[in-house]
Symmetry: C3
Subunit: 474 residues, 3 copies
Amino acid sequence: MEKNSTIIPLTSDLLNKKETVCIFGTGDFGRSLGYKMLQCGYSIVYGSRNPQASGLIPEGATISSHAEAAQMANVIIIAIHRGHYNFLESLGEVLHGKVLVDVSNNLKTNQYPESNAEYLAQLMPNSKVVKAFNTVSAWALQSGGLDASRQVFVCGDDHKSKDKVMEIVRSLGLTPVDKGSLLAATEIENYPLRLFPMWKYPILLSLGLSAFVLVYSIIRDVVYNYVEKDKKYFFFIAISIPNRICPVVALVLLALVYLPGIFAAILQLYRGTKYSRFPNWLDQWMLCRKQLGLVALAYAFLHVLYTLVIPIRYYVRWRIGSYTLEQALNNRTNPLNTENAWLSDSYVALGILGFFLFVLLGITSLPSVSNSVNWREFRFVQSYLGYLTLILCTAHTLVYGGKRFLRPSSYPWGLPSIYIFSLIIPCIVLVMKFFLILPCLDRPLTQIRQGWERKSKYVNHINNDETMKESSAV
Amino acid sequence: MEKNSTIIPLTSDLLNKKETVCIFGTGDFGRSLGYKMLQCGYSIVYGSRNPQASGLIPEGATISSHAEAAQMANVIIIAIHRGHYNFLESLGEVLHGKVLVDVSNNLKTNQYPESNAEYLAQLMPNSKVVKAFNTVSAWALQSGGLDASRQVFVCGDDHKSKDKVMEIVRSLGLTPVDKGSLLAATEIENYPLRLFPMWKYPILLSLGLSAFVLVYSIIRDVVYNYVEKDKKYFFFIAISIPNRICPVVALVLLALVYLPGIFAAILQLYRGTKYSRFPNWLDQWMLCRKQLGLVALAYAFLHVLYTLVIPIRYYVRWRIGSYTLEQALNNRTNPLNTENAWLSDSYVALGILGFFLFVLLGITSLPSVSNSVNWREFRFVQSYLGYLTLILCTAHTLVYGGKRFLRPSSYPWGLPSIYIFSLIIPCIVLVMKFFLILPCLDRPLTQIRQGWERKSKYVNHINNDETMKESSAV
Amino acid sequence: MEKNSTIIPLTSDLLNKKETVCIFGTGDFGRSLGYKMLQCGYSIVYGSRNPQASGLIPEGATISSHAEAAQMANVIIIAIHRGHYNFLESLGEVLHGKVLVDVSNNLKTNQYPESNAEYLAQLMPNSKVVKAFNTVSAWALQSGGLDASRQVFVCGDDHKSKDKVMEIVRSLGLTPVDKGSLLAATEIENYPLRLFPMWKYPILLSLGLSAFVLVYSIIRDVVYNYVEKDKKYFFFIAISIPNRICPVVALVLLALVYLPGIFAAILQLYRGTKYSRFPNWLDQWMLCRKQLGLVALAYAFLHVLYTLVIPIRYYVRWRIGSYTLEQALNNRTNPLNTENAWLSDSYVALGILGFFLFVLLGITSLPSVSNSVNWREFRFVQSYLGYLTLILCTAHTLVYGGKRFLRPSSYPWGLPSIYIFSLIIPCIVLVMKFFLILPCLDRPLTQIRQGWERKSKYVNHINNDETMKESSAV
């Protein structure tokens, strides 16, 4: 251990702030990293097979053969492709006991059986391999970055080496995040390849729904008026129709957030245990509920904006104005219809409350917020408030419909208004949930979720009794 | 130490990824955790008093007597209730030098004199006790969770053991958070029992206020119109009255955020020192200011929504329409009243600016944001912008009232409009603050907050001079 | 090392929870910290040159000479000014092997050549210096704080001592953040002095722009109407004119977020390399893009609010009403002008979509969110969605203008409407960006950003080939 600490001085003493770091590979990343480290006061030596190609390296850095370069430093950054690691074996004794930093990335997820860092560790058993820097882009190191994540994931089996590398990360103004042993390398190497995996299905689904509603509404509201009544309402495409798409998609997606939970409950009731895996599609669905909810919130937000601008629209002003005008010219007066007032006010009020709770849910799903609440609090917000939101939004749509669906005038070409379709799934979810909270179903479900199993030989009620039995026997 | 590191291999080598972990207790949590760990490639052995009850444990896991099971692993997860820990003493030599992970929770806060983990550590002085996993729910381990916090608080006195457990936590896809020594166990065990403790009073208060305003407004606006003028304005309950509740409650709560600070200042001026504790109620109040402010923001947000939908409401459209109609029928014209234009525009503008700053305050109170600003910046935002918000919102309400309160018509049954009450506390706060920033009061207060004490024997102005005296003497 | 661990018990055992900590200096911070630590169960002894001045110290603490006090504790908190550190040298042997916690701050950034903590470490080579607590304010320790950051940055060269101090930090209910070796002390000491450094220029710029638009609009819309048409539109200052300022400033700032990136691209194309530094002004500009964007978002948010309240304004209602009235009195009817409907609806729709994406960008720039996405995801959001936002907002402004700019009536005193100016920079940015994405420019730029250099002796295309050459040779 003493030997180590001499090889790798853990505490960077003030005398030689400018410690030397060696970089193998004069590729883009190697140069960008060296460039950045030079700025931060390190002295850099590059290891290359053609040291004369110094035109390649940033000013201030030196370049020499791999062996010589490695001799000069305790930390060697391996900025070459996994495909060429094997040549390192020849440097075995030079690199003995030194820290090898694996910064490599792959082109696709799980490209190789084991992670590059683990592969390197197998090649160089006498060196200390640390995985780091692969999550920062070369471009970011240059340009100071657009304030994206400054986190650098670090993992490795030797603590001293890891500390050493984390120290370097910090001195570059980045934030090291210890991911534990080299086992984490696989995860770390897959991280940068990710592109919103969980968002894919929710977004595709919402786009599909939007497209359907768009076509349906164009036919029902634009084409119909043009063909039958020769009215040119093409400008509906700008606001009126988007404002049909948004609420419909938002409501459906919100319902789809809670549907899988209900399937899960039914499945568990049927199987009589929670210790058997859900079918894969259900697992997937459960895992992207948060994303579904946030996409729904986005649509709801747009719906609110589209609704609030209604009175600013020329068309609306014209319609209201010409209505008043017509009455004035015909000397008619219109008395207050309190029932209409009730309907209009209450569906708006329901919408406001629903949106308010929806925004609340959105805020609690921010990483920093959900990290600061415990499980009890999170479940309280997400399930209680969540269902309340769904109820309010469904009611909002129902009241909006009001008695409208009775009038034949609201069935141009026999097509019902789109909001009627949007109510199907939410109503199903709410009805099923209603049954699930009936004591006769809720009690067994609770027991199952507390570990009770129907199949198990002897009755074991719940955790407490169970463990009581278990240890009292001792 | 060498011995340890052999007993507990810190670096998980690639050969036996599937290391064995032992779990005492086949209760729900024990099984859920084992189930999850099996999925992540660990091999699990359960310790139970009746090994034949293998129906209880997840497939792939083995089960045997406590002693045998413990022999097979270096990490033993104690998934049984504190009440039964004592039986572990009999396993003293088997568990010698091994890592015991205490995952237990209590039913209520501070149920026992010392934390379960510390109690376990006292029982098993030769084992290494680590507290972990108690903050994740069994249900969450199963269902992958609703994206709640993935943080697992870990504490323990032995670093190697803690690292070992944190390694396991990571490999389950959770984020370990080192909470230091076993002293933190008490806090960690109380954590999951919390249910928004700081929010209780602010929310109760806001509900109480809302109820009062609701009743008052119903009487003043609905009942009065029905009884005296036979107008059925019951639909006011949907929007008009909520839109009175929200601004009133929001303004009062916002003022209550700054009131305790003023009491504190007065108290310090009176006592002539800051080194004596505030009365408990004031401490409590100070600590839930953030929650008060956020509840106020929620009400303000609702107020904005309720206000913006006004022109969409059938009732409003009817009123405006019939007014125009009436004028048209009587051939009357109405000239522009610039004073009204001034009043209406300026109170709306004040409201907008107030709300804008309020939202800004809300954003800076997000954990991730407030963590990224230093004290100077935080105080700047929270006190300067905070008071500016209060001033704007109060002005908004004052201008809204305008000269209205002079008209007798605005006192149905002699009841003043509710907004007048809402102005009382804000005005008190602003006036008192005004006095506190007068030099004659501000200077001594600043000194006191810099450590100056009236009672102290000899005058010591502030930190600097004081320490100067102090060390220059040496 | 063993000796250390006896001197500094790493694991705080249960028997003497109340360990003794010594504080040098009875200044404000020293007393506040001691006060807090007493509350948390530590026993505090102050070191002072006049132990009889016990009136100064919080109740429960003892006070004695520096030497005596230091003897009683392993951790000594140095709460005196750097200027007086030198006297500590005389206590060299008493403080030998003990942990000295430097809590000092300076009055301005980089006041001294090296950080106070490093200076202390040089003075006391045989003590273990740890930097901590300087980021928390004395006032915060007292008042429990306004929920600001509870983070305490800790750095030091000796791990055991650092752990010890972090343990104390935790037990005070604060969150220690390990910043690595003592080298980080400089950064930590500069941290509390910061006051929104990156926000300065964006905010000044936006204020300057606002002022210009304000004056311009007042002349064009208020003064002109008053002088030429004798109309008193002074109340425009409340809403109408702010609602011209906000969109203009928002659009210009948004464009300025993307302008530096274009300059950078041009510069790199011209130089034929990315490995040479940008001029300082460009670097600065690049670094405050995020702040520019957020200020723009704030203005956009205000613009939305100002726009949505339009139909509530007395003036607007009066104008619409009197228009209808006038038509009624003259028995005129007004047919629907579908072209106006198109223009009005589409510019509103564009605005809504632009604002929606803008809010999305704002959310992704929250620290906790941007930390949870990787580089690929972040760049996708920030550059793709960012440009889409800019395009939508520019289109919004263009359509808003519509054919208006052709009418001479829209040039009072020959002054064009302000929105025309606001279009200049956005259009420049979009046009230049359009050219930069043409293959003929995009390909070389991409190569350069992947490390290709025009000047380099032999052609090296990109990273892959380069490293291939490099290591295949070995």
